[in-house]
Structures are given as C-alpha cells and as structure tokens.
C-alpha cells in the first residue's frame, strides 16, 4: 500500500481510471454489490465530490430492479477510480457481455452461493468467459464474490470455488471473497485485493515500457 500511495502522489492528484466488468448469473447480486460500493457509502473518507462526478448518481438507489442491458456506475477507492459496467445476468443478454471484454482491466464475477442448482450454469458461463479470445491470452485479474452468505443454506467460499473448479485457473490472478451485498460485508476486502492486482499489473507494464 505504501508504494501505491507514493505512486499516486507521483502522478499528481489524478487517480488512475480503470474499467471493470461485473458479470454473473441473474439474481446473483451484481447490481446490489455495485450499489453498495457507490460513493454514498464512502463519502466520509473521500470528501466532497468533484464537479465532473456530479452527473453520476451519487446516492445509492433505493430499490434494485433486474438490469436490462447494462448500467455504468463510477466510484473511487483510495487510489483508483473505477468505471464499472454492470451487465445484465439474464440468459438472453449474456451473449452481449463479450462486446465489453476488450477494454476491461478487471472482472468481478458474482455467484449466488445459495443457488446450488445453477452452479453448473455459472461454471459454464465462467468457462465461456475465460476461453473467449479477448480474455484468454490476457493476465486480467478476476475477483469472485461468493455472495448471499447470509442465506441459511449458503455454501462456503471454499465449496463454491471447488464447484467452479477455480483451482484450474492458472494463467490469471484470481481471488474469491465471501460477501453479503445487502449489508456490504466482504466487499471492501475483495476490492482491496483487486486494487492491489491492478496496481501491480500497471507497475509491470510500466517496467516493461521502460
């Protein structure tokens, strides 16, 4: 973290902008997670919003409805400013995800830990995603949220990672976090990991460029 702070100090006040894709089956909690991450929650340590952020919905939405297509949301963490493409998870829109693979710097994949039945579907979608030509060859960080931990019959994050065979992913950094989006538990932890990964890969790139 210390290094990162220095880096951002170097670059001036402007934070690095990254594009993140938020994927996962319908009703897994993608929009709820993004909603929790929005500035309203962090306003205390981010300070007042600058002029350019004014038009983005600053407050969290009161109710979450199924997304049709996608939503674009923005929020900042300590060192990065995120632009999240919150994609619709309904089956008829999943084929539209691929339009946004190319420009993304990271992927958040959300899983409904209580939905054992559709875990195979999630695995299927994940495999298709990882094998896509725009993703396959890139060392793009993937953050998994094993969401809905508050449910009684929710599986543990270890169990979820087993069911999705995450250990088979060897060419990309990945991390799985247990989360409860409604309360916001576990989200920050996951995001911290993501931030670190992105910073590292940027650093690597800069080394390579030098």
């Amino acid at each position: 973290m210390g290094l990162l702070d220095k880096l951002s100090g170097w670059l001036g006040l402007r934070k690095k902008e990254v594009n993140v894709l938020c994927l996962g089956l319908d009703n897994s909690g993608k929009t709820t997670i993004i909603n929790q991450l929005k500035p309203a929650n962090h306003s205390n340590h981010l300070g007042p919003l600058s002029e350019e952020w004014k038009h983005v919905s600053q407050t969290q939405a009161q109710e979450i409805v199924p997304t049709i297509g996608f939503n674009i949301e923005k929020f900042k963490s300590s060192s990065l400013s995120f632009t999240v493409f919150d994609m619709s998870g309904q089956s008829r829109y999943r084929n539209l995800w691929e339009h946004y693979y190319k420009e993304s710097h990271a992927i958040i994949f959300v899983i409904d830990s209580g939905d054992k039945l559709r875990m195979v579907v999630a695995k299927e979608e994940l495999d298709t995603l990882l094998n896509h030509q725009d993703i396959r060859s890139r060392k793009i960080p993937v953050l998994f949220f094993a969401n809905k931990m508050d449910l009684r019959d929710a599986m543990s994050s270890v169990k979820v990672s087993q069911m999705l065979c995450l250990e088979n992913i060897r060419d990309k950094p990945w991390h799985i976090c247990a989360s409860n989006a409604i309360k916001g538990e576990g989200l920050q932890q996951g995001l911290d990991w993501l931030q670190e990964q992105i910073a590292q890969s940027t650093e690597n790139n800069e080394h390579m460029n030098e």
Binding site: N19, K54, S57, T67, I68, F70, N71, T83, S88, Y93
Partner: protein, 873 residues
Amino acid sequence: MIKKFDKKDEESGSGSNPFQNLEKSAVLQEARIFNETPINPRRCLHILTKIIYLLNQGEHFGTTEATEAFFAMTRLFQSNDQTLRRMCYLTIKEMANISEDVIIVTSSLTKDMTGKEDVYRGPAIRALCRITDTTMLQAIERYMKQAIVDKVPSVSSSALVSSLHMVKMSYDVVKRWVNEAQEAASSDNIMVQYHALGLLYHLRKNDRLAVTKMLNKFTKSGLKSPFAYCMLIRIASKLLDETEGGHDSPLFDFIESCLRNKNEMVVYEAASAIVHMPNCTARELAPAVSVLQLFCSSPKAALRYAAVRTLNKVAMKHPSAVTACNLDLENLITDSNRSIATLAITTLLKTGSESSVDRLMKQISSFVSEISDEFKVVVVQAISALCQKYPRKHSVMMNFLSNMLRDDGGFEYKRAIVDCIISIIEENPESKETGLAHLCEFIEDCEHTVLATKILHLLGKEGPRTPQPSKYIRFIFNRVVLESEAVRAAAVSALAKFGAQNDDLLPSVLVLMQRCMMDSDDEVRDRATFYMNVLQQKQKALNAAYIFNGLSVSIPGLEKSLHQYTLEPTEKPFDMKTVPLATTPITEQKTEIAPVTTSKLPEKLAPSRQDIYQEQLASIPEFQGLGPLFKSSEPLQLTEAETEYVVRCIKHTFARHMVFQFDCTNTLNDQLLQKVVVQMEPSESYEVIHYVPAPNLPYSQPSSCYTLVRLPDDDPTAVSCTFSCTMKYLVRDCDPNTGEPDDDGYDDEYVLEDVEVTVSDHIQKVLKPNFGAAWEEVGDEFEKEETFALASVRTLDEAVGNIISFLGMQPCERSDKVPENKNSHVLVLAGVFRGGHDTLVRARLALADGVTMQVTVRSSEETVVDVILASVG
C-alpha cells in the same frame, strides 16, 4: 468511386459542407476511439455527428458494422458530458432499426429517465421508446406512467409523444395509460396539453362515441393550449364529415365559436375548417370568409399567406364567397412576399372575369421570374384553367406561356407549361401553328427527354397536316443529330409520319432516313430501317397501318399471348387478332382540358380493368376455351339501389360467346343465400349453355355468379337480343348477430330487370390517331352508305352523343366535339368488330328540322357493314 464523388460535388454545389465526401469505412474506423479511456467528449461528439450525417444521407450500414459501432457508442454512457450524452440518444434513435441488440441500453436509459438531470430525462424517454418492443414494454410501463404525469413539461411531453408512437406497436398496453394521459390533458403547459389530447384521440379514434364524448368534455371545460384547440377543431370537422349530419350540431357551433377565439392560429383553423366543409351554405360561410378577409390585411406575412392560400383552394368551390374578398386580393398582388402575390393573382384568375385577364397576366409577368418553381406551377395551373374558361384569350396565354417556357425552371414546371400549351392547341385549331412553333423552339434546347419525346410525337401527329409541313423537318432532324437515343428514336418516328403523309416531302425524308440508318443506337437504326422500307412501298394502306396508327392491342395482353405462343411449339404464325385490344385511355380525347396536375407520375403500364376481368374469367374452368376476352361492358344496375338484393351485370364479349357476370350483394342481415344463379331467357336465337352459381352469398359480402351464352353462328346479323333475368337461390334464415344459419332453407326467386345486348357490345373502341389514313387503308371494298333522319334529336351535340353511345365506337380526330354555331358536322368513329374486323364509320350530320344523317361504313368484312347499318336503321 471517383465518379460518385463528382456527382456528390455537383449536388452539394458550394462545397461549404464540412461533411461532404465522408467515407463510411473511415468514419467507422474513427469510431474505435469510443473504446479508449478516458473518453474525449469533443472528438467522440464529432464522430457521432459524422455517423448520424451518413445515416441521414441514406448511406447503408450493414448489420454487423452497425452493431459494432452501436456497442462502441454504448461505452460513451460513462462520460458525463451533457452534449455527448444527448448525441448518444440521437444515435440510439437513428440506429434503433439497423443495429442488433439495441435493448442493451435499456437500463442505462431507464436510469437517465428516472434520474435527477432534467435535460436527460425527456430525450432518454424518446430514445427508450424507440428501442423498446412489445415484450419489453411491460418492463418500462411503470416508468412511462410516472413520466406522463411528471411535473416537468418536457418529460411529460416526451412520454406522451413516445406513447403515441407506440400506439401503433402495442395498442393494448398504451391504452392502460389513459388515466395518466387524462391527467396530463389538464396540465397548465400548452404543449403537454396538446400532446395529451393527441394521445387520447388516437387511443379512441376508432370509437366514434368515445371521441364525441371527449369532444363534448373538452369543448365545455375549455383548454389553455391553442394547439389543442386546433386539434379539437380538426377532430370535430372530421367527425362532422363522417356523420354527414347537418351543420346545426353542437360540433359546428363549437367550430364557429372558435372564430372568436383570441388566438389567431385557432381562428384561422376554424375558418379553414368551415370553408373546406362540403355543402356549406352561404350563411355559414360568411363569418369564416370575413375572418380570412381580415387576415388578408394583417401585418403578419404568415397570416396573409394562410388566408390567401385557403381562399385560393376554395376559389372554384365557392366563387361568390371568394369574390367578396377581391378587393383585398388585388391589394395583395403587390405584396412584397412573392408567394402571397402569386396566390393572390391565381385566385383572382380563378374567379375573375374575362376583361380582367389581360391586366392580371401583365402583372404576373412582371414578377414571374422572382418566384419559385412550385408557385410557377400554380400559375400555370391557373392559366390552364383560364384557357378552358375563356378560349378566346388563347393568344394572350400562348405568348405568356412561351415566355415562361424560355425561362429557367425545373422539370415539373416545364411539363406543366408543355401540357398546358398542348391542351390549348387541341382546343383551338387556330392556335395550332403558333403553339407548335413555340414547342419547336423549346425542344431546340430541352434537357428533359420525356418532354422532348412527347413534343416530337405531337409534331409527328399535327405537323404534316399544317399548311407548311416542311418547316418542322429541320427542328426534328436537329434532334436526330444532337440528342440522346430516346429522343433520336422519337424524332425518326416523327419524320416517318411526314414522309408518309406529304408526297412532295417524301424524297427528302427518305434521304434523312437513310442517314438515320447509320445511327449508333439499335433502336434508332431499327426504326429508320423499318420506316424506310415501309415508305418505299408507297402504299397508303401500309403507311396507315404501320406509321400513323400503331398497335391497338393491350400491352400486358400482348405480353401474355406471346408468352403463351412461345410455350407451345406450333407451325402457325402468331395471330395478332388473338390479342385482347387495349381499352382506349379515356384521357386521350377528353373534351375539357385535364387540369395540369403536378403529381402526375410517369404512368406505368398498370393492368387495365379489362385485363383484370380477363384474368378473373380465365380462372373459372368453364370459361377456359373461349379465347381472349374481346370487350367488357360498363356495369349495369339490374335492381333499384335500395332493395333486398343488389345486382349489377357486366357483359363480357368473346369471339363466339358472351359471359354475363352478375355481382350480387345481399343486404339482409338475417339471410344467407346459397347456390345463387341468374336464369336468363333470351328473346332471339341466343343459347344459354351454362350457369356458374355463386355458392354462398352472406350478408354484405358481394359475390359473383356467371351465365355463359353462345352467340348464334348461323345468323351473324343477330347482334341485339333482350334477356329476361330471374335470380334463383336457396334462402337460409340466420341470426343477424352471429350470422349462424338455420339448418334447412327454401328455394326462392327474385325478378331482375332485363339485360339487353346491343351492337355496341360487339364493337371495341379503337383510337385511330390518323383517321383519314385508316379510312384509305380499309378501302371501299365493303363500303355502304345510307341516309337517316333523326327526328327526335334537336341539336348536333345531342346527335353526336347518341351515335357514339349507341355504336360504342371511338370518336377520332376530336370529331366528338361540335364547333359552336355550325349547321353541319362530320363525325368519324373507329372500332374493331368482334372477330377482329376493323370498322370505320363516317357520319355526316346536318341540322335542319331535326338532324339528317348520312352514314358511311367501311370494314374489312361485309357482314359487319350490314350489321351496323341494320342496327342504326
């Protein structure tokens, strides 16, 4: 590609357009910067503008490339630049139909339309409704309902207008928003109120009662918005028009009360509605016209224009009412706005008297060069109408028209002038030479192929019969030297007509024709070679058949016959007589000048009424061996208009048979008729061979039954016959509401009026453009002449009309029009008798005590001559 750019350059002219010469592929390439982070709003805006420009220029985008560009554009939603976001909405709307998966932006748009930023909300609603289909509409219904009653006017208006668009797509869903629309209709904002009224009306327009209720409600409560008032007036006048009720209804009172509205737009709308109403009395008209009259002297140009345009439109319908405004219209002639001046003058021309024509024409010519083509056409139309009204003024008009013809102008304008000159020539023989001279001058420098060929055809028809035909040859041959293929071919045909008709010109024409045979174009060479050979024969009959009078068969019919002929290999040569004849176009010899219409498109070869019958009859197996259809008569009513069953009869004549087609309509909603036939009892030796019944005749659904009759072979002179007709059928009573018939029925019959077959059913009209030549062609082998006295007829006009309708032949050489103040007249008629025999009739009429008529008949078949004379006698 280079050529394409050249063309674009020409079109855009000045070259001040920064977007000209845009290339689609280059623009799409540029669109890749949409994917870059961070977004550069300025550059993206510029590229979106280019894309929208290309789309609006009609550039075709393939689905894949459009989808790619669309998805790249969706990323721009992450930018918060207002202009860029609104440009995205525009792009979404433009690409909604050409890109796939446009629903991807649904959530983004829903977010914008419910967001806090008012500038986004309206446009987002409009864009959302463009990408939404019926299945998705449910998902956004809640938001739409909220938006309709939103307190921000632009949001509410957008939602209302978008709903209106979606009525076409999913009426049932939008219908559920009526309450919200109702609430919006009481809004204080004039646009919201107007749009709400529009939506309410379109939701209810199929239910007259509901519309009436709505009108009552709003006319009582009153509205704020003048736009809404105008709309109410339109709805009311439409309703009045449909109900055809008297003008004492509250609807009319409402419209009249709007004449006293304080808003000028509403007042004008009301006046215009009243003036345009059919069968309006003078008393009802007066207040509306006086309002328009007041507007004529308004300082606002728009009001003056509106008033004078309305007066112009109704000048023919209510001349007396418009004449009342003449003084005001005269003042408008000098109006600085030329459009107003033109309309004022043409209105005056329509209503003015013969004496004022000269003065008005002088005034028009002073500024005709300053007005746009569109108004020039209006002027020409007015002149054309005027020529019809005051034929004696033709020299003034002709001068004026020829001056106009010399000016610059577009195709529509020139065509209007040419049509007008041609109609004047046809109406006034004494104007022929000057008119032809003007037209000759015009084609010397005419860029419109259609007009050049039309004029050349006219020259070929009229030129040879003028005192000095030789002077036209130069003009025509110049065309062969200078013009495009189509014009050259037309010029060759025109030349041939001169050669055929004027013996002293023939050697020169042959020399010219020889030169045309070297032409580079096939059609021109073919025509020249053909005419050359025909002319060298020096036979009147050949000239008449192949040069003056072209084919008289129907073109679709010829095409079909030739196709049929090629299908069956046979030794026999193709017989032209098996081809159905063309029904003479009615416009050809109309006595009144057809008003020069601007909307007249180049006429396509639409199948004629007879071609349609031919097809219908051919589909009935019983009628397949009858050969081509020779003639179909006009429908004949066999019942009174208001009876239980309405029957009309169409007589179809074939070479040896006749088919009677009975179009029956059952006007009783409690009866179903079955097995309907019309039984016919002939008075002569005609033989009924077959009945084709109409199997079912339910309430108000017309159906046809047919009767096939053989014409007597042994007596060809038996051309007329009377049939007494009885309709026989099985009645099954049925429930008027459900249409469910009872199980059993009973036989019944209904007596119809008699059907008569006369000589005119055996003769098809054929127009011979050059009757004299045709007369010589047929020859006097079977000529017969007889004199009759028509005691009951008082005037020549009446006699001419009677003869034409009795024989059913085509009057030629405009001989159906009797010049005024003449005591004698020659009527020439042409036709083809059943079986394909050319038949010509010349009737010399003299007016004494009653009319004396000497009829000369020529035909290629003797019996035909006898038949016609016998039937006249």
